[in-house]
């Protein structure tokens, strides 16, 4: 009954999305105020019914209603309650509903928080978001209904949730990631509305910026959570595999990062307009392409959803309409737009253009690396694989100039910067970076020219430069203490995000260089030494979990005779899905992780264990978290929350 109500709610949401797509948009062209005013209640209604649908689905999972195919295939009565809730978006159908809910949620947020916008623009943006959601709700209803029942015959027990997804990271990762993906729809809608009206300038950029930042914030967090989950759950200590699914989230992230930088130029200087609009379109288009790649089955990936060509075809047609349509509009309207600004070669504008060049090139590399095997095969040239060696090589060469530029850029003024005054601070920063990097290497007793040193140098360069720059700005207010409260929140945000990038670079380079990995054969009582740590296997015993069995191993770790920690690694056998999962034991410190996974049983009452010591691996996620916090700080900037007294009286009658 509740399930049918959910289905009904989704149908209502569809109807409201259709109305939202038609009325305000039509109203904006015929200058019909009542129609434009309808946009807000329609957006709220749409969100309300999507929420009802999601709650109904969660209810079906919580009550073990196995007559619903989705529940029977992705849950079981033995599943812990929190995973029963997350199982509701663990499948293709459920995650599509989550997607729809997120889109409706963003639409409602725009309706609520963009009251200051001219009514016409407001109506158009909501109408475009409604139009996009029409496509997704229809997809959910027609092609992948999460509420479908298998009456009259249904199983008495479900097939359980894929054990890979039974992890804490999976509770947070999908909603955060989808918030990011879908969030770029708002910037997209702003861009389309601007293309329709033909106006974009600093004001437009000011309005889009917080939305782009918010989407970027969630996407960054979502990707980091996904990486952290893979590290903990896949059992081999990797944090990024360049799988198509990961790349599908990385591409919009790169385009989105370029967008938030380009928006800064458009807001502050009124230039880069056509470029910024293109990036706003691209970020969401890449989200859609990613969704297509994951759900259509055109690429082979470790964690794609079960696929069916009908769905792929629907999504491709949808992609053609949305992305093709918007790019067509872009082509038609854009040549009327002229940017206006004057700036010198050595100026903030050119620095940010450099940032965009590198990010877009990175995006193209990921795009080609993901899709080239498909092109290669469809051209009849045979099958190839593109993975880690290719991407690592390309990102190595790209990161070096990018990080150098990033250390430089925040110091450079808009319009024009004299080179001479910067020479002294940058010499000092360069010397400080060199000393810091060598100092860290010396403390690890490994001073040599390797990737680790390069990472430390670049990280120190970016980090020290960002800190020194913020100190310089603070001093410009008279004194540092006086400046602290005067400097914009968005400036702190930028600095924090740049430091986050520095931390990330250090983490990646150090982990890649100094990870020590050993596969050892151990009996109870055996010990082995890896990178100075002494691991002793004290016990192996049988496990008995709610929906799994298996073995657990207990290890003691000591260093130089002193006790470090106790580790508990599991190898689980999930009974219903009949799959083996490794629950690695991780002991995390800022300077290193100890990572142990329990392997197979070996003859002679022994076990294979994979023991890894991974220096600085935490820094990778720490960097991501800092970047997200930076975006959060920038969002808190008060200039985005300024209320306008005149806004309320506005009537659009174009």
């Amino acid at each position: 009954m509740i399930v049918e109500a959910g289905q009904l709610a989704l149908t209502f949401a569809f109807a409201l999305a259709v109305l939202l797509a038609i009325l305000p948009l039509y109203g904006s062209f015929v200058a019909n105020k009542p129609m434009l005013l309808l946009a807000k209640p329609l957006a709220f209604g749409q969100f309300f019914f999507c929420l009802l649908a999601m709650l109904a689905l969660i209810y079906a999972f919580r009550t073990n209603d196995f007559s619903v195919i989705n529940v029977a295939q992705n849950s079981s009565s033995t599943l812990p309650w929190y995973y029963q809730i997350t199982a509701s978006f663990g499948s293709h159908e459920g995650s599509m509903l989550l997607w729809v809910l997120m889109l409706a949620g963003w639409t409602a947020l725009v309706a609520q928080f963009s009251k200051a916008l001219p009514l016409q623009l407001h109506g158009r943006i909501l109408g475009i978001l409604g139009l996009i959601n029409v496509g997704f709700v229809a997809f959910s209803l027609i092609m992948s209904n999460p509420f479908e029942r298998s009456l009259p015959f249904f199983p008495v027990e479900g097939r359980d949730l894929n054990p890979l997804l039974q992890d804490f990271g999976m509770i947070l990762h999908p909603p955060t990631l989808y918030m990011g993906y879908v969030g770029f729809a708002v910037a997209f809608a702003f861009a389309i509305a601007a293309l329709m009206g033909g106006r974009f300038d600093s004001v437009w950029a000011r309005w889009v910026r917080p939305w782009a930042l918010a989407a970027w914030l969630f996407l960054t967090l979502g990707i980091m959570l996904g990486s952290w989950w893979a590290y903990n759950e896949l059992g081999w200590g990797g944090w990024w595999f360049w799988d198509p699914v990961e790349n599908a989230s990385f591409m919009p992230w790169l385009a989105g990062t370029a967008l938030i930088h380009s928006l800064a130029v458009t807001e502050k200087r009124g230039t880069f307009k056509s470029w910024t609009v293109l990036l706003a379109l691209a970020a969401f288009a890449l989200s859609l392409v990613g969704a297509f790649l994951v759900r259509s089955g055109v690429l082979v990936s470790v964690h794609s959803f079960a696929t069916d060509p009908g769905r792929g075809l629907y999504l491709l047609v949808f992609l053609l309409l949305v992305v093709g349509g918007s790019l067509l509009l872009y082509g038609i309207r854009m040549n009327a737009v002229r940017s206006q600004a004057r700036y010198q070669l050595f100026s903030r504008e050119m620095m940010l253009w450099g940032n965009n060049i590198f990010l877009l090139t990175a995006c193209l590399i990921v795009f080609l690396g993901t899709l080239f095997p498909l092109f290669h095969k469809e051209l009849g040239l045979g099958t190839i694989s593109i993975g880690e060696p290719f991407f690592n090589q390309m990102f190595y060469y790209l990161t070096i100039p990018f990080a150098l530029l990033l250390g430089l850029a925040p110091w450079v003024r808009w319009k024009q910067q004299q080179l001479l005054p910067l020479i002294k601070p940058f010499s000092l920063i360069a010397i400080a970076s060199l000393m810091l990097a060598l100092g860290v290497m010396a403390s690890m007793q490994s001073v040599q020219a390797n990737l680790g040193l390069l990472g430390l140098l670049l990280g120190a360069w970016v980090g020290i430069s960002a800190l020194a720059e913020v100190m310089l700005r603070l001093r410009q207010f008279g004194s540092v203490s006086a400046g602290i409260s005067k400097l914009n929140a968005s400036h702190y945000g930028m600095t924090l995000a740049h430091i986050g990038f520095a931390v990330l670079v250090v983490g990646v380079a150090m982990t890649k260089t100094y990870t020590v990995e050993r596969d050892v054969r151990m009996q109870e009582g055996d010990s082995t030494s890896v990178a100075g740590y002494e691991f002793t296997l004290t016990d192996v015993y049988d496990l008995n979990g709610p929906n799994y069995g298996g073995q657990a191993a207990e290890l003691d770790v000591s260093k130089d005779g002193g006790y470090v920690t106790h580790l508990h690694a599991e190898k689980r056998f999930y009974r219903i899905q009949r799959t083996i999962m490794t629950e690695s034991a991780v002991h995390a410190r800022l300077s290193r992780d100890l990572y142990v996974s329990l392997g197979e049983e070996l003859p002679g009452n022994a076990w294979a264990l994979r023991i890894q010591v991974k220096p600085f691996v935490r820094w990778i996620w720490l960097g991501g978290v800092l970047m997200s916090l930076g975006a959060l700080l920038a969002l808190a900037d008060k200039r985005y929350r300024r209320k306008s007294s005149v806004a309320k009286q506005e009537v659009a009658n174009a």
Binding site: Q344, P389, M394, D526, T538, H566
Partner: protein, 152 residues
């Protein structure tokens, strides 16, 4: 707790050093083996390297790689051995040919192209337009206010 105490007792009186599952003559060979296992793709799995997969063919390929490493074959020889059997598909680094060259060329061209666009635009705009923009944040605020109150 009891388990822990027993563990400690074990530790004190019976510490035996564990051996590696796969023994290597030297660090270079160990590194080569792990590197290859990470770069070779399991032909049967969804998208996994042979190090992380437990499919039969991945186990066999790991074993073969180990054998070849122990025989002292070079990285290139071992890769070629696998490619001869399973095709270019098996290596995560694509081969270089007249089509795949674009994997490297296209990003390079984009980079240079965008750089050129930036320089060209800067010169053109500098020549054409007067600088009548909001130079300070305050001026931008005024501009925004003007925009808002304007009837389109």
């Amino acid at each position: 707790m009891k388990r822990y105490v027993i563990g400690l007792l074990w530790l004190m009186c019976n510490t035996v050093s564990a051996e590696e599952v796969l023994a290597f003559a030297n660090d270079a060979q160990r590194e080569l083996y792990y590197q290859l296992a990470a770069e070779l793709r399991c032909p049967q799995c969804q998208n996994q390297n042979i190090a992380d997969s437990n499919a039969i063919v991945a186990v066999d390929m790991r074993q073969k790689t180990y054998q070849l490493v122990q025989q002292g074959q070079s990285r290139q020889q071992i890769l070629q051995y696998m490619i001869n059997r399973y095709g270019d598909f098996v290596h995560y680094q694509p081969p270089l040919n007249r089509v795949t060259i674009w994997l490297w060329l296209a990003p390079l061209l984009l980079l240079l192209g965008l750089l050129a666009v930036g320089l060209y635009r800067r010169r053109n705009e500098a020549a054409q337009t007067p600088d009548n923009l909001a130079g300070t944040p305050d001026e931008l605020e005024q501009l925004i206010e003007k925009y808002r109150s304007k009837k389109p």
